[in-house]
């Protein structure tokens, strides 16, 4: 996997954050939803914080607190209605849809609660897909995809489609898909919610290994205590507000 991840960033413009720079900076970021009937729902209220790079950061809070909305904003798949947001050193406000999409493609990866694998693609093709979007040469794609599937232990299942894989195997494919392009930032929304405890622990260990080996920044939205126990930095959200942040290492 090491060779795959080190090769992934070659030959393309990619934003990186140094160890001293935060990977995400939020300054008075707010998000208000308009429900098309004149009612406005405030999901995030003027939040300001930095997420340090190369950490296992957790956004925690009760259901409906705004965790997922915050994760969506950080992942640049939603736009803040107020404030300034900087991801991987880039001010993302005001970028065109194509520019923000390309930015996501290069720098950000997602791991979803429901795996969100393409049902018509095999495990191998699902993992290779982000590299196709980066227009990498076929040989490089093959090398990185194979290395990543080996690394998550799914090479023997590479020809299987998602419906032929267990929940844990699907999430391993999802992790491989997220990491194959060696992103700067990986966002995971409740990645262990649909897994049993044992499998969840395996997935956490896998992500932890990748994060430690390659200094990728992980941001989780979760209330899984098992996952929270691995947090290096924790942001507690309640009713759309940041109520607490903890640096677990310092603690």
């Amino acid at each position: 996997m090491g060779s795959a991840l080190s090769a992934a960033g070659q030959g393309r413009a990619r934003v990186t954050s140094g160890p001293s720079l935060p990977v995400v900076r939020l300054r008075q970021v707010g998000k208000v939803y308009d429900d098309h009937e004149g009612l406005q729902v405030t999901a995030i209220k003027s939040i300001t914080f930095d997420i340090p790079a190369h950490r296992f950061a957790m956004i925690v809070g009760p259901s409906g607190s705004g965790k997922t909305t915050l994760l969506n904003l950080i992942g640049c798949i939603d736009i803040p209605t107020s404030g300034a947001l900087e991801v991987c050193g880039t001010r993302v406000g005001g970028l065109s849809d194509n520019a923000i999409t390309d930015f996501r493609s290069r720098n950000i990866a997602f791991i979803f609660q429901n795996f969100n694998l393409s049902p018509v693609l095999t495990a191998y093709e699902n993992v290779e897909y982000p590299l196709l979007l980066l227009r990498l040469p076929a040989a490089q794609r093959r090398e990185q995809t194979a290395a990543m599937l080996e690394s998550v232990g799914l090479w023997p299942h590479r020809h299987h489609r998602p419906n032929q894989l267990s929940g844990g195997q699907k999430q391993r494919v999802a992790v491989a898909r997220a990491l194959v392009k060696q992103p700067t930032l990986v966002l995971a929304d409740e990645p262990t919610a649909n897994l049993d405890t044992h499998t969840g622990a395996e997935i956490i260990a896998l992500m932890r290994k990748v994060q430690e080996e390659h200094a990728v920044s992980f941001v989780f939205s979760t209330h899984d205590p098992q996952l929270i126990s691995h947090a290096e930095h924790t942001f507690v959200i309640r009713d759309g507000e940041l109520v607490e942040q903890r640096d677990e290492e310092k603690a």
Partner: protein, 465 residues
């Protein structure tokens, strides 16, 4: 990868995709079968016209509009010279199949043995030239039709051929051995019917026959009365060697074909023998415009007061019929196109709805709006392509099988049933156009749901269950 994903997505909901493919396929079959039927009708009409009236006809200027009232004035005197000029022209010669003089006339045909007479339209031609013209079949349309060589000969100007209808009307069925004539009814006898209806014409005809040395009785004969160019009545006796069924009943009941020389004698009497027209049949219809243009140049160069008309000008009904079939074909194609359009819109719309979460996922991974649009348009195009390919194969197979059923039909204005066929050769342009048209319709149809999918907000799409 985009094609791979699109291809596999088509087979996710097999039943829905199958119904869409069938809709596209049935549309293709309908368009192909009707298009090939129209193609056959068009080709058959063109071939029929080229066989009977040739591709081009040369007249003395003004004949086409006014000449029938005065064929002597509008005849082509030096027709042999004109034929030589045309047939020896280096540009026209290789394109020429037949060039032959003709005479057209009208008059009264009588079988005075039974006191029957009837107006007729006559055509005088060189029998061997006409035979060659009738064998022309550039597109192999009449391969299923048996061609009977003419019973007329170049060296016998006394014989002619009539339409089956005229033979029936003038009581020649028995003598000609025609089996499909209904029995002739006995006419009620009136007191003043003891005398022949036209004793003068009958006597004139008898005198003509005697002068010609034709005394044999029991032969099928008609006496033809026509006005000469100078207005004097002229009578000729014609030995009928056979009856040929003409396509339209009006023509069948009036048709008399005779030797060119006899027609000249009948029309021009003792005056200068001319040709009313010079008929030109080409090897290939595509050369028509070029030859026509060359004829204009030739006539201008040689200061010949001649005009050229093509087969459509001579038989405008053919063009109108072809146009009518073309309009129906267009109408059917549009209806089928609309059905395909709505079917694909519906199928792709449901697909977009079911895959909203997937759309959100790939957008989050970095697929642009344009990529989503392309994916769904490719899916629609593939659906169209598979359906159209299926339709083309089935349509063409059905067309070949249909031609073997031996079905017949009675075209409008015809007096005889003809084989109901569809054109199965030389239809590649039709098949390609149908295929492309349906794929295009499916692609355009897919654009609507594809645009909707491309406009989804990523977060909304990801939230969709």
């Amino acid at each position: 990868m985009l094609f791979k994903i699109a291809f596999r997505n088509i087979f996710r909901n097999k039943r829905r995709s199958l119904m869409t493919l069938l809709a596209v396929g049935v549309g293709a079959v309908a368009i192909i079968l009707f298009g090939e039927f129209v193609g056959f009708i068009t080709a058959a009409m063109e071939t029929g016209a080229a066989r009977t009236v040739g591709h081009l006809t040369v007249y003395r200027s003004g004949y086409f509009d006014y000449g029938a009232g005065n064929p002597a004035a509008f005849g082509i005197a030096d027709y042999q010279g004109v034929i030589r000029l045309i047939s020896e022209d280096p540009e026209i010669k290789p394109k020429l199949n037949v060039i032959t003089p003709t005479v057209s006339l009208a008059g009264i045909a009588g079988n005075f043995e039974i006191g029957a007479s009837k107006t007729f339209f006559g055509t005088g031609f060189v029998p061997s030239d006409r035979d060659r013209m009738l064998r022309w079949d550039e597109r192999d349309i009449f391969r299923y039709f048996k061609h009977n060589p003419s019973t007329m000969r170049d060296d016998d100007e006394t014989t002619g051929v009539v339409g089956v209808g005229l033979a029936r009307i003038l009581g020649l069925c028995e003598k000609l051995g025609l089996t499909d004539c209904p029995p002739r009814p006995q006419l009620p006898t009136a007191a003043n019917d003891s005398e022949p209806e036209a004793p003068d014409i009958a006597a004139l005809a008898q005198a003509e026959r005697e002068a010609a040395g034709a005394h044999a009785s029991g032969e099928p004969r008609l006496d033809l009365l026509a006005a000469t160019a100078s207005g004097a009545p002229n009578v000729m006796s014609l030995l009928i060697s056979g009856a040929e069924r003409q396509g339209a009943r009006e023509l069948d009941d009036n048709f008399v074909a005779m030797h060119f020389s006899l027609a000249q004698k009948l029309l021009y009497g003792r005056g200068e023998h001319k040709a009313v027209a010079i008929v030109i049949q080409l090897h290939h219809t595509k050369d028509l415009s070029a030859v026509r243009a060359r004829l204009h140049t030739l006539f201008a160069e040689h200061k010949l007061d001649l005009e050229v008309r093509d087969w459509i000008e001579r038989q405008p009904f053919f063009k109108q019929a072809i146009d009518m079939f073309g309009s129906i074909f267009f109408f059917i194609s549009v209806i089928m196109g609309v059905i395909v359009l709505f079917t694909v819109v519906n199928t792709m719309g449901m697909s977009v709805m079911e895959r909203t979460n997937e759309i959100g996922t790939v957008r989050a991974l970095g697929v642009r709006r344009g990529g989503i649009r392309r994916l769904f348009v490719i899916e629609g195009s593939l659906l169209g392509a598979f359906g159209a390919t299926f339709g083309v194969v089935v349509g063409q197979t059905l067309a070949v099988l249909f031609n073997r059923t031996g079905m017949t039909w009675m075209p409008p204005g015809n007096s005889v049933r003809v084989p109901l066929q569809v054109l199965t050769t030389g239809v590649a342009p039709l098949l390609i156009c149908v295929w492309l048209g349906l794929v295009l319709a499916a692609s355009v149809a897919a654009l609507v749901p594809a645009n909707r999918a491309a406009r989804f907000k990523v977060v909304d799409a990801l939230r969709h269950v």
